[in-house]
């Protein structure tokens, strides 16, 4: 009898891929808002996968940052720009065809590599628990320098965005 968590993995994985597909290639709607909403759903179901991997902190952060802030920003911009014209454009058939071939090739190569790969990890060992405390300790001890660099990056991004969004670019 399969475990509940195993079933949940297949459910969440299926949902993630389905929503991801509907996000990039929705056959019914080419509206950017629809894409954005499906991306939100993709992110939420991915948070489900994170929970199954016992990365609770990251699951929460994933929803909080991606679904709660980044995608709202996307939605905000889409609505602000009023992209009615975009929905009426025809797709370039050649580009879509060749693109699909390339993507299918890539997916094939990746999956083939996965199947042929020898598992390096011993099957019996206990998987690691992603507790928030442990994560914080590593973040502020081993990764302190990258963390500080990241904060400077955020500051730079903030200044850049304010500069870009000014009416007159001088």
């Amino acid at each position: 009898m399969p475990q509940l968590t195993d079933l949940l993995f297949y459910a969440f994985a299926g949902l993630t891929l389905l929503f991801g597909f509907l996000c990039v290639a929705n056959p019914l709607s080419r509206n950017p808002v629809t894409s954005a909403m499906f991306l939100v759903l993709t992110i939420i179901s991915m948070a489900g996968l994170f929970v199954l991997l016992h990365a609770f902190f990251l699951a929460a952060v994933q929803i909080l940052v991606y679904a709660g802030a980044v995608m709202v920003l996307f939605l905000f911009v889409i609505m602000l720009l009023d992209l009615k014209e975009e929905e009426r454009r025809k797709l370039n058939a050649i580009a879509v065809g060749l693109g699909s071939v390339a993507v299918l090739g890539l997916a094939g190569v990746l999956l083939r590599a996965l199947i042929q790969a020898k598992p390096v990890i011993a099957a019996g060992t206990q998987p690691v628990e992603g507790s928030t405390k442990e994560l914080g300790r590593i973040l502020f001890q081993s990764y302190l320098l990258p963390f500080e660099i990241l904060s400077i990056l955020l500051l730079v991004a903030m200044v850049g965005v304010i500069l870009l969004s000014k009416k007159e670019l001088k």
């Binding site: 990039v24 290639a25 954005a36 990365a55 992209l83 014209e85 990890i121 206990q126 990241l150 670019l169």
Partner: protein
Amino acid sequence: MQPGLPHYLAVSALLFSLGLLGVIARRSLLVMYMSLELMLNAANLALVAFSRFNQNLNGQVMVFFIITVAAAEVAVGLALIVALFRKRQTSHVEDLASLKL
């Protein structure tokens, strides 16, 4: 079958391919940008899976960094798109082919 590392990696690979498909096939800057986010998320999933099955938390820390960088990147990218839209009244990549504003 009990899902292990290969299962998660397969999902991640397929998600990455979907993101790539979006970048290639869709012509709206915003949707392409969203597809890029999808690819980043695929990488996140792979890293979390590695971290879980590899008995150390470094992968999760990396994901933490990626999420932060992605947030900053989205803010700057969207500001650029809005600025571009103000100048050209379009966010369609085929209309944005010239090098000068």
